[in-house]
Amino acid sequence: MSHPIDVVVTGLGATTPLGGDVPTTWAAALAGESGARPFDPEWVETFGLPVTFAATIKVTPDEVLTRPEIKRMDPSAQYAIIAAREAWADAGAPEIDGERLGAVVSSGIGGIWTTLEAWDTLREKGSRRVLPMTVPMMMPNSPTAYVSLEFGAKAGAHAVVSACATGAEAIGYGVDMIRSGRADIVIAGGTEATIHPMPIAAFAASRTLSLRNDDPQAASRPYDVDRDGFVIGEGAGVVVLESAAHAAARGARVYGRIAGVGLSADGYHITSPEPSGDGQIRAMKAALAESDVTAADVVHVNAHATSTVVGDLIEARSVRGALGEDSDHVALSATKSMTGHLLGGAGALETIFTVLAVRDRQAPPTINVETPDPELVLDLVRDKPRQLRDGDVAALNNSFGFGGHNVALVVTSV
């Protein structure tokens, strides 16, 4: 049963391992490029990190932000602001009463660089050297607060957090703000900046990172038989969500609709997805049930697929579980093969990819799949983009997070 208030996407912004904006990132994704590269070798020497690479951001903030902006914001907020500025300009910088404008730009982990640098300062120099901006920079609501400040978003500034589902859940929350009548426009998305030795050591300790140090660009390989973990990435994705009526009234260009939001929790394990995929299936079914499309309309799925041995297959089976026989005509893309895993930014960036896939009728490729896992029960788009059919189409974007958070968004063409 579809909701009476239709929510559309009118602006896109991103800064990612593939590019400093959405057009560059999307072109690189369609071209099958990898954003993985070796990081500072000193980190490896000093700390003995078992992983030597990551999908680091392509355009660093010092190329686009002022010095005071960089000093006042944790990198997670810097990425968010860069993406939000692009999205807002892309939406035509709409004129709107601030009380009708919301912000929901979240980070999965928060201002970890700031936190750790302040701790280093405290230990090396004592408490009087810890900078006064530390708290507003490390708090996990900092990115959404800065977005709210910059654009005067006064309907509410929120930071929903659900690990690697954060960016998608933020967009879902933004959709709900518009549907509930709290806002006409919401700037929503996710961001992450955790490519620092400590989180890398911690993720490596949980045995979730790829150790393919000899070939970083081939390391993220969802659904390949030789996948061995995810590639940590960084960056942000932000969308401008708008009620369809508001967008029409101002003659805004519309990319697509967020037709349904499905949320669930596994209630099973703090890191492992529930093996039957029950929670994931419920999220996808809920998103479809809330929309005005059915499984028969779904032509594309942007998978969460991080390139872990266990997670990828559970999701593939869940997609089949949710869509049934209609999953036969779904073009499945695992874009983390190119971008790495942006953690809290991933769900937002992949929503952008899903919106563009539906608009352009092009499913982006999955790279590095030399031998598909024989247990993969879906049609994986490999190496080159896949043309999607004309006419009205729908797609799903899946995002799942440590803690058992499942988010599915239904995106439709306009």
């Binding site: 005071p68 000093k71 120099k125 009087r128 050297r129 900078l131 006064p132 901006m133």
Partner: protein
């Protein structure tokens, strides 16, 4: 080592410029931190923290309210050297 007032002004101007984005040559002794340089209390405390480290001095919290202008800060830092 003790810094001359000229060196303190130059060093302070660098800190203020990093914090505010204003050019260093606009950070002059007669400028008011709040009225001319638009520095809020949080930024002022950042400047104080960085200045303490740079010049190896202690600027007590209850002294900060007396530092209305850049020149006030330069004089205070010059006088506080060697007492940290």
């Amino acid at each position: 080592m003790a810094y001359s007032e000229q060196e303190i002004l130059a060093g302070l101007a660098e800190i203020v410029s990093e914090e505010t984005g204003l050019p260093t040559d606009s950070v002059l002794p007669e400028k008011s931190f709040t009225d001319d340089l638009d520095i809020d209390s949080l930024s002022m405390m950042t400047i104080v923290t960085l200045a303490e480290e740079k010049f190896d001095v202690r600027i007590p919290d209850d002294e900060v309210k007396n530092l209305a202008t850049v020149g006030d800060a330069v004089s205070f830092i010059a006088g506080a050297q060697g007492k940290a």
